[in-house]
Amino acid sequence: VIVVATWDEQELGAAAREALGAAAQLAGALGEDVALVCLGGDGSGPAAEAGTHGAAQAVVVEGAVGAEGALAALAEVAGELGARAVLLPSDDRTAEIAPRLAERLGGTAVTQTVGLEISDGRPLWTRAAYGGKALAAVAAVAEPVVATLRRGAFAAAQAGAGTAEISTRGAPATNGTVELVGMEPAASGASLEDAKVIVSGGAGLGGAEAFGPLEELASLLGGAVGASLAAVDAGWASAERQVGLTGKTVSPDVYFALGISGASQHLAGIGGAKAVVAVNTDPDAPIFNTARLGVVMDCHTFVSAMLERLRSTQ
């Protein structure tokens, strides 16, 4: 069995559909079925879509709280089903869960994967390394494989015919050494992962106050605001806005990189963008190697001009 886990609450999101797409490929090659494990809310929404997206069964786990709860639940379900692989969307939650789950199952974690091919009947994973400057092909020595999949790297499963057997269970107990005591929700604003347009600022912006005009620009374009690691480290933008290897992986239609030089760390997060518009005073900045459109200009000047233009045509 190939297990796909989702934390989606209402319906299957893009990350889960991408994982189901990868699961279908793997299941086909290994002659296995796919099971969807639903860990968010009551899970009934995503479970209802499991069958039409290629899963033979859906397991809804109720009340699995936090990373500890999810880890215990996935270890139990994957163990019972004899999973040969567990596929998880790559994010801040699975960064912790994947290695720990692999260890508990006696298997192998493969993180930040961007590709999968079957070589001699065995899965060969491609993953990014060195901040995206290199790619590496790796094979797991021990099953099951617990893989985290980068957003936008795998083709999503398309809805078709099919039904899944749905079961529901409670979450197994955890040992209480780590307790979730509170949550500080991210400041409101459009989700970076789902945004069609992202306006992102980096070190070249020079200060937190420059993010105000970026908010307005993003809002006029119907998009979201992102930031580079340098801008987050400087305290100009909050961590959940960070795009890059250690932040969000995004796949918008247009990604405005404003005052972002284009360190590999950052580029690793924007590979899925259809077009990057780079604005930088340094014509030799590496970001121009990735950009579709480039403007050599002070980014404050550019943002002001964009705002003026967009306000006047509203």
Partner: protein
Amino acid sequence: VHAVVLLKEILDWELPASRFRVDAEAKRPAADLGPTLLGPFEQNALELALKLRDGGAVDRITAVLAGPGDSVDALRKALALRCDEAVHVVWDGIDTADPSQVAELLVAAIRRLDAPELVLAGRQAGDWDHGQVGYLVAERLGWAAAGLVLQAEQSGDRLLVRRAAVGGVEQLAVRPPAVLTVTSDPSLVLRMGSVMDRMAANKKPIERWTTEELGLTADRLAAASRLRLERVWVPEVERRCEVIDGDDPGEVAATVLARLEELKLLTRSA
């Protein structure tokens, strides 16, 4: 509480992609790409250890560096910031080791230390970017784990931890012994040591432990491997940037918007 900080030296992570090359045969970066430096998330982990000591939650810090025999700058830096002890676990194989092997080595080293109750590791080493070692160490020691930690402070017999999570920041109460993996946060920029402390650090001893001393034969380390590295390469990037020139920012902005609309990437109600 005796805290252990796990350090690693890596190739300069700001080396531009245009200069990065790999040795395909050795399945690793080319040997001449420059010196190794203390990794960015390891710097954050070290700073968190120092902050916990400032706050009284930690009274002793041991810095452990796993790496080849030729560089201990990271340990000198840790000593200059008044870490109490420095241990160099010498292993030339670390460059191409998988996370399971590195964890095997570090678990053996941690078990040899004097009753540590807290391990701080970077969220991922900025070379292979696996992001696994801290968690594997926690599981193998049977300790609690919390990942992507931004801040931590003591509260009774627990550590109150803020960590990056999907949808915001989670607050956790963690009961030691525990492993925390640390991510970047404005509060975790590594402090500068004083000149006096740096000079004093040069006189402090660095313990050297070999794999054999830790009871790890080459066979045992090989058997710990879970990931087989088949191939490493540099992805090709095709430059196709269309530069939009102009002295009038208003016109440049208009051209950018018009081009994005032509490319059907942007639709505006206007």
